[in-house]
């Protein structure tokens, strides 16, 4: 099997770019990152089928000169899937923008709670009790500060 080194390098570049965007905090950038990663995977699928040859249409070209149709079918399916998921992500971006006026992801409440416990422990304050005890607390009192 022969493949183009240049195309392999393009796949590598797209994967790197996609993952960088995916780790960002803005849902819009995450969407673009996913699109780029999808392109990388589709390009890799096409590369997996070997070199580019004549279109795999019976009657147009000799079977020995045809490109591998299977990978083209795979890539087509994968493109449709990534297209659908991209739309869903865009809907989430829009929703996020409608709710908060930005597409930045908010802090995870659990992370914030843990950070809070650590912060209070560092400053010598009594940390909250973990589980079990309902006796020393009036019913319904919130455990958050």
């Amino acid at each position: 099997m022969t493949s183009s080194v240049a195309l392999a390098a393009v796949v590598a570049g797209l994967v790197a770019l996609g993952f960088v965007l995916l780790t960002s905090r803005s849902l819009g950038r995450i969407t673009v990152g996913f699109v780029v990663l999808g392109h990388a995977a589709n390009l890799l699928l096409l590369l997996a089928g070997g070199p580019a040859l004549a279109p795999p249409v019976i009657g147009e070209s000799e079977p020995s000169r045809m490109a591998d149709p299977l990978v083209q079918a795979f890539a087509l399916t994968a493109i449709v899937i990534t297209f659908g998921v991209t739309l869903l992500l865009l809907a989430m971006v829009h929703r996020s923008w409608a709710i908060r006026g930005s597409d930045q992801l908010p802090d995870d409440p659990e992370d914030r709670r843990l950070a809070d416990v650590e912060h209070r422990a560092e400053h010598g304050e009594v940390s909250e009790s973990w589980g079990y005890s309902t006796e020393n607390r009036s019913p319904g009192e919130r455990s958050e500060p």
């Binding site: 795979f74 994968a78 998921v85 019913p139």
Partner: protein, 519 residues
């Protein structure tokens, strides 16, 4: 016969289109949804009987014979898991319909819920029945895309935040899956599982190990195996309780199924078995220690779910017939028990308006039936005899002892510790929330307080009703608990069935033969 293999996928997809068209007639939507699930369950049961008596059934789609065309394959493992999954999907559907019927202000936007749920069902069926890696990818994507919609249903800020974690992690897993499929195709020129079983053996050992590990990582993300589990307890609890229940019961198990399928069929020498044992130990310990630290009931159950994935990995890692049979038995029991637990937790939340166990107490007096519905699956997961969890753990331990390797026995000891940890986590919930002083629990803050004005009021799942749950909601949860108890009664035949399934898996020659001979 062959129609039985195709029907589950086709029926569910046609049903999804049907309920979408019936968008304005809620009653018709519900009726169609239920009918489709009942028929597919019937197909699955018939398929199990046929497969168990006649042998694996193969249907080449579109007239292209394997390995070129797409083939749907049903063997004992696929058919058995299909039956269990459809039972769970039907029970949760009835529960969700009851919830949206009784809570007039609540429920889900029905026009979105039913189509997404049916696509989820179709994806589950396709994932179990697919005979090639690429169709398995498509099945996963159907399940995941439907689950993205369900997890963010209504678009409240909390669900959007939790949903983003889930969507991004799942997308990363999907891209990795697609990349792995491309690399395997480049190396072997096929994606058909039966064909791959032969051709992967001809590759260099280094390349084979790479593929085994790549597939393991892909499915470990889906199955929430430690250290790839952190997304699960963050995202599942945010969804409405019936949706959390079906995700917890089924979605991770599809990952486990894919692991069992690929590791046994494609790598019959157990290339990744050692890694699986280590992952199993880490998953059990970290998952269950995490569970003990939680004070939110749904987060606790999510960590227990992560921990118990370790048991299934352990059975697969032992890599003997008894071990794989134990893993399958455990998967069957765990699908039912976990879903029942999350449904019970949903009933608690509906009554009290909170799942913070520090703010609950005396539930067993207030809602004894829900207490029972929680206690039985909780005890089963903790491995109390004679419940199915005990039988499944016993099967795994027997397999480990008869295999007898040092690593296996060490991990077997960890499974015992993990059972104790599960019991501690469950006992903590039980003594705090179900026993103890009855408190009138303060509901959580209204999730819509912070929502924008345009938030869909339809979305507010009614919680904190202080009323008895309607029988139409407790009945499906009770039915699942009864199915769990039924596993005890049918333990003998079920164990024999899982052993036959495991024998098929570890001697894949007949599977390969049947698929490649299909016309």
């Amino acid at each position: 016969m062959s129609v039985l293999v195709v029907l589950p996928v086709v029926m569910s997809l046609a049903g999804a289109a049907g309920v979408l068209l019936l968008g304005h007639w809620a009653v018709a939507q519900r009726a169609l949804s239920i009918v489709v699930h009942v028929v597919v369950l019937g197909c699955a049961v018939a398929l199990l009987v046929v497969v168990d008596t006649v042998g694996p059934q193969v249907v080449p789609l579109g007239g292209w014979a394997p390995p070129v065309g797409i083939a749907l394959v049903a063997d004992r493992l696929a058919a058995l898991l299909l039956v269990v999954s459809m039972t769970v999907l039907l029970a949760v559907l009835l529960y969700a319909i009851a919830q949206s019927r009784t809570d007039l202000e609540g429920g889900f936007p029905a026009s979105v819920f039913h189509p997404a749920y049916l696509v989820l069902t179709a994806g589950v069926c396709l994932a179990f029945l697919s005979g090639d890696l690429f169709t398995l990818f498509v099945g996963f994507e159907m399940v995941l895309t439907a689950s993205y919609v369900l997890v963010t249903i209504g678009g409240t800020p909390e669900r959007l935040r939790a949903g983003t974690t889930y969507v991004v992690v799942s997308l990363t897993g999907s891209i990795l899956f697609l990349t792995t499929v491309a690399l395997i195709y480049a190396a072997t020129g096929t994606v058909n599982l039966a064909d791959l079983a032969m051709r992967l053996g001809e590759l260099e050992p280094g390349l084979r190990i790479t593929f085994a590990l790549l597939l393991l990582v892909v499915f470990a993300i889906k199955a929430a195996v430690v250290p790839l589990h952190a997304w699960l307890p963050d995202s599942y609890p945010a969804a409405p309780s019936p949706i959390t229940a079906v995700f917890a019961g089924l979605l991770t198990k599809i990952g486990v199924y894919a692991m069992i399928r690929t590791q046994t069929l494609l790598f019959p020498d157990g290339a990744a078995a050692g890694v699986l044992l280590v992952l199993a130990a880490a998953t059990m310990l970290i998952g269950l220690l995490g569970a003990i630290a939680q004070s939110d009931l749904n987060r606790m159950l999510s960590f227990v779910l992560v921990g118990h994935i370790g048991y299934m990995l352990f059975g697969l890692g032992v890599f003997t017939v008894a071990g794989v049979a134990g893993a399958i038995f455990y998967t069957v029991h765990h699908i039912v028990a976990t879903t029942a637990l999350f449904l019970a937790s949903g009933l608690v939340e509906r009554r009290t308006g909170t799942v913070d166990i520090e703010r609950l107490g005396g539930l067993v007096k207030a809602i004894p039936l829900v207490g029972l519905l929680f206690a039985i699956p909780a005890a089963s997961l903790s491995g109390l005899p004679p419940l199915p969890g005990f039988l499944a753990k016993l099967a795994l331990l027997q397999a480990a002892v008869s295999e007898g390797g040092a690593v296996t026995l060490t991990v077997a000891a960890i499974t015992l510790l993990a059972s104790v940890l599960t019991l501690v986590a469950m006992a903590k919930v039980w003594t705090t929330a179900f026993w103890g002083r009855p408190v009138s629990a303060q509901p959580d803050r209204d999730p819509h307080a912070a929502a924008p004005r345009d938030a869909d009021p339809q979305d507010a799942v009614l919680v904190g009703t202080k009323q008895r749950a309607p029988r139409s909601m407790t009945a499906p949860a009770g039915a699942l608990v009864a199915v769990g108890l039924g596993i005890v009664v049918l333990a003998g035949p079920l164990q024999a069935m899982t052993e036959r399934a495991a024998t098929d898996l570890l001697q894949p020659e007949s599977y390969v033969q049947v698929v490649l001979d299909a016309r």
